[in-house]
């Protein structure tokens, strides 16, 4: 149990997907001007990362590894991720059309999010068990969502702040992101996983 908790803390905070591994930076800058959209995108990405990582683990364990097809890993994973996004889109549409109308806008953006592929490749490299891989993917995506929401909150405050003209907009956003990354480096003393 303790190893799972350490694995999750490590994945979410110490080796944060955005601020330590520098994955998913396009959505980090693009969908964080409002907290509510950041929450929507974060939850959608959490769902897709977790589900697609489970599918990627199964494909790796039961198809790629037994048949020595490791060289097809990246291509196969991209296909699995695209299928997972499509599955999510169809499921949300079937479960509730009003929810799909409201949230469907985020889903196409997730297919091209490199964090989804990055997490899948990391958990395969780590040679984890199924439950450990699932928890790793879930914790990684929670870390992604956490940083998205924190950064969106900071940018909402920045929008009201008196920023010098040359720094207004994305430049001050990048400076804040770097300070946030420095703050997250403080977690590196917690675990070495």
């Amino acid at each position: 149990m303790q190893e799972y908790v350490l694995l999750m803390v490590s994945a979410a905070l110490v080796n944060n997907v955005i601020l330590a591994r520098f994955l998913g930076l396009c959505s980090f800058m693009g969908v964080t001007t409002r907290v509510d959209t950041a929450v929507g995108m974060g939850l959608a990405t959490t769902f897709v990362i977790t589900v697609s990582s489970m599918a990627d683990w199964a494909v790796q364990a039961y198809l790629l590894e037994p048949f020595h097809l490791g060289y097809l890993r990246t291509v196969t994973f991209i296909l699995v991720i695209a299928a997972a996004v499509q599955f999510t889109e169809m499921t949300v549409k079937k479960v509730s059309p009003p929810l799909f109308q409201m949230l469907g806008i985020y889903l196409p953006l997730i297919t091209t999010n490199c964090a989804v592929l990055g997490v899948a490749l990391l958990l395969v490299e780590g040679k984890m068990s199924f439950i450990a891989a699932t928890l790793f993917a879930f914790a990684s995506s929670i870390g992604y969502s956490l940083v998205m929401v924190i950064f969106a909150g900071l940018r909402e405050r920045l929008a009201l702040a008196d920023v010098p003209r040359l720094f207004a907009g994305p430049p001050i956003g990048f400076i804040v992101a770097s300070l946030l990354a420095l703050a997250f480096m403080g977690f590196s003393g917690m675990s070495t996983n």
Partner: protein, 164 residues
């Protein structure tokens, strides 16, 4: 005494622009506009690249009804809004609920059986259960009118959409 201060207690609305594509009695059907890489969201309805899987076709699939109290006609651009909390509730219902039931089912199966196959099957069952619960939850939100967009105003000439 001036009253031009911001009321932080007021409910915040997430705004978006949409175009009227059909009038059906007292209701109109709208298609949301989305910013494209060229930044010409206002002309996305007439975009030539309207094949399967494109942004335009995805938006077409997301058409939604609205009560036509303002006497809207086909082709008009309007600004619609939903409450900020509605987006949060919808996200939690659609994604967090199925994910939670799936992980709980997987955790319980792993602690009891300790086998990858059993855990996978339990997680699939947990996901199905969570999706069923999400369907019920979404139906409840919809019946209360919490996730339906509201008409705010007609969009101005230069008014563009906000997906950010």
């Amino acid at each position: 005494m001036t009253h031009d201060t911001v009321d932080f207690g007021a409910p915040t609305l997430v705004e978006g622009t949409a175009r009227v594509v059909a009038v059906d009695g007292d209701r109109v059907w709208l298609v949301p506009e989305q910013t494209t890489s060229c930044g010409s969201c206002a002309s996305s309805g007439a975009c030539g690249a309207k094949g399967i899987g494109t942004t335009a076709s995805r938006l077409e699939a997301r058409r939604f009804p609205l009560d036509n109290e303002a006497g809207l006609i086909i082709g008009e651009r309007v600004v619609v809004g939903i409450r900020e909390t509605a987006l949060l509730k919808a996200s939690l219902t659609a994604y967090a609920l199925p994910l939670t039931t799936m992980l709980v089912a997987g955790g319980v199966a792993q602690s009891i059986a300790g086998s990858d196959g059993v855990t996978m099957a339990s997680m699939a069952a947990g996901l199905a259960l969570g999706l069923l619960a999400a369907r019920l939850g979404a139906g409840r939100l919809f019946s209360r009118g919490e996730i339906a967009p509201k008409f705010l105003r007609r969009a101005g000439v230069g008014e563009s959409c906000h997906i950010d």
